[in-house]
Symmetry: D3
Subunit: 268 residues, 6 copies
Amino acid sequence: MDYERILLTGAAGRLGSVLRKSLAPLARNLRLADASPISTQFGQEEIVTFDLADMKATLAACEGCDAIVHFGAVAMESSWQTILDSNIRGTYHIFEGARMHGARRVIYASSVHAVGYYKIEDQIGLDAPVRPDSLYGVSKTFGESLSRLYWDKFGLESVCLRMFSSFSKPRNRRMLWSYLSFEDCARLTEAALTAPRVGHTISYGLSDNKTKVVDNSGANHLGYTARDTAEPWREELEANTPVPDPRAPADKHLGGWFCDIGHPDDPD
Amino acid sequence: MDYERILLTGAAGRLGSVLRKSLAPLARNLRLADASPISTQFGQEEIVTFDLADMKATLAACEGCDAIVHFGAVAMESSWQTILDSNIRGTYHIFEGARMHGARRVIYASSVHAVGYYKIEDQIGLDAPVRPDSLYGVSKTFGESLSRLYWDKFGLESVCLRMFSSFSKPRNRRMLWSYLSFEDCARLTEAALTAPRVGHTISYGLSDNKTKVVDNSGANHLGYTARDTAEPWREELEANTPVPDPRAPADKHLGGWFCDIGHPDDPD
Amino acid sequence: MDYERILLTGAAGRLGSVLRKSLAPLARNLRLADASPISTQFGQEEIVTFDLADMKATLAACEGCDAIVHFGAVAMESSWQTILDSNIRGTYHIFEGARMHGARRVIYASSVHAVGYYKIEDQIGLDAPVRPDSLYGVSKTFGESLSRLYWDKFGLESVCLRMFSSFSKPRNRRMLWSYLSFEDCARLTEAALTAPRVGHTISYGLSDNKTKVVDNSGANHLGYTARDTAEPWREELEANTPVPDPRAPADKHLGGWFCDIGHPDDPD
Amino acid sequence: MDYERILLTGAAGRLGSVLRKSLAPLARNLRLADASPISTQFGQEEIVTFDLADMKATLAACEGCDAIVHFGAVAMESSWQTILDSNIRGTYHIFEGARMHGARRVIYASSVHAVGYYKIEDQIGLDAPVRPDSLYGVSKTFGESLSRLYWDKFGLESVCLRMFSSFSKPRNRRMLWSYLSFEDCARLTEAALTAPRVGHTISYGLSDNKTKVVDNSGANHLGYTARDTAEPWREELEANTPVPDPRAPADKHLGGWFCDIGHPDDPD
Amino acid sequence: MDYERILLTGAAGRLGSVLRKSLAPLARNLRLADASPISTQFGQEEIVTFDLADMKATLAACEGCDAIVHFGAVAMESSWQTILDSNIRGTYHIFEGARMHGARRVIYASSVHAVGYYKIEDQIGLDAPVRPDSLYGVSKTFGESLSRLYWDKFGLESVCLRMFSSFSKPRNRRMLWSYLSFEDCARLTEAALTAPRVGHTISYGLSDNKTKVVDNSGANHLGYTARDTAEPWREELEANTPVPDPRAPADKHLGGWFCDIGHPDDPD
Amino acid sequence: MDYERILLTGAAGRLGSVLRKSLAPLARNLRLADASPISTQFGQEEIVTFDLADMKATLAACEGCDAIVHFGAVAMESSWQTILDSNIRGTYHIFEGARMHGARRVIYASSVHAVGYYKIEDQIGLDAPVRPDSLYGVSKTFGESLSRLYWDKFGLESVCLRMFSSFSKPRNRRMLWSYLSFEDCARLTEAALTAPRVGHTISYGLSDNKTKVVDNSGANHLGYTARDTAEPWREELEANTPVPDPRAPADKHLGGWFCDIGHPDDPD
């Protein structure tokens, strides 16, 4: 138990609920933050409710935390204003809070959509220039860039997790290769928090699926090993969903259907 | 069962006989082609007999096939005329047939001999410039280049499998690292046919031997995992065959004894 | 004269004043935009005055322009709110305006500060992951990422110019290697506007100084050739300014003194 | 004058006529070969007339030559049968003739169309995997692969010149970046013949045009320096030809309009 | 049993004692060498006692050996004179002995300290330029360079093993990622001796620890697979040793505390 | 004039005599060191005579020097004992002297023979692993490794100059590409001394010869530009020396005839 207090943002969300449990053994106290109120509270938990766009509240929530797991954000393509407030301004507030209050490490939920326009057979590693597939993806590249600055200039360690599809189970054919189980997501986050030295590290977040679409070897020092796979759902999903067209934008790119959608603020 | 009909060329050959069985579950119909007649015929099978140098017959055989597994070729160093007819002209006929009749994907049996002049410790990946070790090897680089064109220009997906030594069991010391079991060859071909998106992909074909001589990570999206190894034959082969000389051309290069032989049309 | 109308933002600024003249021959009309009013107006010029943080006004200014040269921004480290409004929100407004009104190409004034934490002897090219040295630098990586999206998704071509020190003459020892003369800045911008195909291109902006600190060969298709150099000022500058300490952050990094300053919102 | 006798194929063609003059000082004898008869003959010249598809005649023409400059081929996209006879079989005959008769070096006219599907901003070097844009381009990759074999196995040195657009003057906007003047073509061929050691070398063939689209530094040991440029024709060509669409296949790829045409044997 | 006689230097040392047993099955005779006398002697063993700085004795010890496993050296930072005599001069004597007496292969105990100044997250491979962290590390780069010469010039195969921390068990937090078990050390040495072709190969020496800090894929042809891991000692070590500071030189670099110490000949 | 006192070793040698003049304007005092006595002495010069193998004398000679230009060494393949004393021990003494007496920068005369076994067409850069061609070459890789340590650990800047053939004029065909004129050698040394930041930099040393055999772009921050070339001597040298055999070890490798010679201590 290396940490005194971990702040978990987005604690009421899909992944936040998973991490709430898995982070418990890693710190004496766990501060849960979300814009939506959290009603139940367990022994070591503290609960704070605020919007990430609220700079003052966000900075305050970081006080006393030596680690921050920042999963609070809009998790899909949205209007520019929403992306700006929640993902750009909100992420800035978190890193500022971490810096001002002396946190040692931030785990940042980035996304495959930071590099969504690469093709599957490109087999990119972690050093490829960003190619976001959406305003959401651009906001994730902002967070990665900001965290790089906070390491180089202020010595704040960070790990940016480019998560693919983290759900309770794979939902379509794409997730046969993009699936990240909840348990693997928890393992990866724990690895990022406990690895002895991360400096500024980017890592993909994937389970051990049969089809492997990126090269994550540059993050081997995190010590993450996936234990799950989408294979148990293959038969069912292949039976129920059409064969992908490998020439379609949504099927050839890492970002999937994010590459198909237009600008979020365009009228329908 | 994603395919309506797969054409398998070289169906009467050593590997063709293996694939004839393993491809059966992947398509409703399996069209077996070879220059030698095939006498037996099972339920879903169609049998066609022709020489790959016969353009008209080859094109006709592609009709109605949404996938082609092209293993028909001279599989060793041979006279220029033989290589030209069987491997260069024949391969062109197959890709033209695929294009004309709208096949979705071609699996092409390339070979280690396309890069046979690299040394073992070079640990090449899939992007290294070709270094063929024979006219046979040159013909394989022709097929790889042609398939790249058919993807870039005509949208025909293809996987080029650079197979090493696929036999029922390893036969000499070199095969302790170059062995590809029949079962792994079948697994690799199935992976190439069923991966969701391949575009134009090259992959090495090897079992999980102890000594690993190339880096195949660039083809991880095929989802192939070797399950066999040459290790069970090590003791026997080491006892019966001389220690290799690591300075000899046939022992230091990926291509093995192909690097030792002269021009096939030279008089003895 | 390939363009009908070019919008130049930051037209009243140090570099804007230079470009106002050099862009004139490239378009039938030149629309000058700045937050500060521009009093004089020449024949082909139109003048618009607005703040880049004003989305509506910025979008409107893009109408009728087939090219945009976006040099309007806060050009040094500033408070987060200023960076956010001027460089992040403002740049988004420009790219949205370009997309909505069908511009063909945007030339974006990025900066060396997007990669300011690399060392001189790293000799980075254009594909190195970003390492901003300031909030200002982070805002420039945001613009680069956004322009990548607008090319990949919307087909809007862009060139990001990572300018070093563009002044009327070099002012200190660092500028002996970081100098970009006004004339070379104009040449580079013209090259970016007139190159036949740029897709999404990043280029460094430097004169032909003796000490060369980056590898810009990846942007050779712009056709830019520097003609100036800082050499004429060497003797004077070396006489008047102290020898740099190659171990000091400001002297070893590309970003110079930006690497020395703390957080802009910290109290003194 | 290092060579006793140089064989020049395609001697009656556009470039052959240029080389006929420039090669004269490099050898005591110059053997001119073409399928079309050459009527005039100068002092040191020998003239032979044959079709490259004629193996016997081609082998015979190589006798007594210590260098071969192989420019004879169909120089544009053509029917498969024509490409096969002239460029594939013909090139094989030449390398066989060189080997049988002990030539020291072969200069092979390859083409940009061996890598025509790369984009301008890819800025590829010489090690990029081939991406032919036509059957013609595939035949050039065949020649490159074959020459690699003849060096690795038989010790025959070769230089493959990937020429872009070699004409008396640039003819369209694309040639503003793809132009190779006749004089530069002659310089490059001479450099390839006289460099002290080439092993197996590939080089692009371009004049010193403003827009540079590939990285040829890997061939610096040839000692070739372009002296010409397409710039003198810029004004005229820009005035007379439409602005390219950077999103069109013919404008974004190195191969130009070769990327636009379909299969040569398709009915119109 | 491919070897007639293996010379093992440093046979009385920590690792030498391990290898003395593991090498036994690989050769008919095992010659044990050390500066300290070895009292016990088993059947196939020969024992020689000499200092590696004694050229004549070292050369003599190599006679009749077709393989040399050179683990004799000062194994930590020491005075220049000690490093010079033992590690530089001694290693030269060994390679000369191998050459003069016709050994086929030398396994050389190099060290992580040849690249100790890289950071954990650099994830270097085997081709990274050396960055020694001590005079000891410099001596190891000397041995690697010398062995490269002896392969290129004299055809003597060699494997340089860059061992991390080989002890009976991990002793501190760093060894949770730097641990190489005795058994894995023996496996690696055996792999280096028995791989069919090594030419000149460098390999890292590590067990299969959770945190992986280098990329050893370039040595896959050795056929080494780690079977041990430091994990069983994690809980105990984490309980008893302080959390590392990821900003401290000894914690961020591969070389660990070697990066913290000054010059060995400095007065305290 | 940035330096107070420069120590020049090897000052009586071929290159030392050149540098003695060119270094004069760069420092207030110039200390000339050599094992052979130097009889003449000019105004700012100090003369010291000692053997580099004499540690005490070498350390003393470094006192009061803020820069050291270390060209003193045996400059060709020699017996091991000579190489050891002069090049290995001597170089260690110099770096220790620099460290003890607080020099700011060392310019070290390395050599092409540190990488002599690469082939001309390999076109290596500065990051390629060393491949020495002689004991002399090994000693140069020792110096490069040592200087890397002194930078990483002690903050002593250094530039390693891998000089090719520096003579008053080229003497044979190889020098048509390996020539470094005395004037260019002086320019390069001056650049290395005056570049604002070098950290630890390696640079090739070559004039602007027609045939370029390495990629030195990684040292562009030195600001060195060659102004001479071997071309004026081409005609004479080609007339008087035989055509090289591109398959001979001495003609295909960067190291030239160093690759041909055996072990220096072998009896003839």
